[in-house]
């Protein structure tokens, strides 16, 4: 019986996508602009950096939760299509600035996210050692 497991996975991703899309909509509707899209992309990349570092090295978050939050929520919270259409509409130098800002800041955000998790887990293990 393979189908029910996939169905559970897909419904988890769908519920994450439901909340992720709504969160993106509510946040970007106050700033409907390339800056709004940049903001959700950077924030989503920060959280994905945190989640994936935990997933690979700490393992506190299980696989199903990673699919719901990572693939579902954060995958839908961030968007590439809107970024592409806005970049195209900007044209010229603003387009290049928008591209560079998205590329550089989101990659930095992934590393910042993992840095936060490393910091938290070190402090936690130091606390454990002291007590």
């Amino acid at each position: 019986m393979k189908a029910p497991k996939q169905l559970i996975e897909l419904s988890g991703i769908a519920s994450g996508g439901f909340l992720g899309a709504i969160s993106r909509y509510l946040l970007t509707s106050t700033i409907v602009s390339p800056a709004g899209t940049l903001f959700v992309n950077v924030l989503g990349s920060l959280f994905l950096g945190m989640l994936m570092y935990d997933n690979e090295y700490i393992g506190y978050i299980d696989q199903r939760t990673r699919l719901i939050i990572g693939t579902g929520f954060l995958g839908s919270f961030t968007t590439f299509s809107t970024f592409a259409v806005q970049t195209y509409s900007l044209g010229g130098t603003p387009a290049i600035v928008n591209i560079l800002a998205n590329i550089i800041l989101t990659i930095l955000a992934v590393f910042a996210g993992r840095g936060i998790i490393i910091h938290i887990s070190r402090r936690r293990s130091q606390d454990d050692w002291r007590t």
């Binding site: 996975e9 897909l10 419904s11 991703i13 769908a14 519920s15 994450g16 996508g17 439901f18 909340l19 992720g20 899309a21 709504i22 993106r24 909509y25 509510l26 509707s29 106050t30 409907v32 992309n41 989503g44 990349s45 959280f47 994905l48 950096g49 994936m52 699919l67 990572g70 693939t71 579902g72 954060l74 995958g75 839908s76 919270f77 961030t78 968007t79 590439f80 299509s81 809107t82 970024f83 592409a84 259409v85 970049t87 195209y88 591209i99 998205n102 590329i103 989101t106 990659i107 955000a109 992934v110 590393f111």
Partner: protein, 121 residues
């Protein structure tokens, strides 16, 4: 620009469709050169479709459900950023540059194509 509860639910419904679709489509693409071709494919398809709907005159009908909901969620930036950061970390410089250039150029070409398609509608 935020609408009422109805608009919010339409966006959410779109997200509940777009996210599992992304998972299915990006999962069936074979990897080339160890590049994340699944993410690339969904981003290109989504950019073509969003561009067509955005530049077509009848865009308002689909705005919340399809444009913001389904297509916004079908494409993803965070996975692209994460996969790219892994290439940087692992010192795969050529893959890194290739991944960024492929996503940017194909998606923006996709938008151009969508704009052309919209003028035909």
């Amino acid at each position: 620009m935020t609408g009422g509860l109805e608009e919010i639910l339409l966006v959410g419904l779109g997200g509940a469709i777009g996210a599992p679709l992304r998972y299915i489509v990006s999962g069936i693409v074979p990897k080339a050169r160890n590049l994340p071709t699944g993410t690339l494919l969904v981003n290109v398809i989504g950019s073509i479709m969003l561009s067509t709907l955005t530049f077509a005159s009848s865009q308002n009908i689909s705005l919340h459900l399809v444009n913001i909901g389904v297509l916004g969620s079908f494409t993803t930036y965070s996975t692209f950023a994460y996969e790219t950061s892994r290439m940087l970390e692992e010192g795969r410089t050529i893959d890194l540059i290739l991944n960024i250039i492929l996503n940017l150029s194909l998606c923006i070409l996709g938008v151009l194509l969508g704009h052309q398609l919209a003028s035909l509608i």
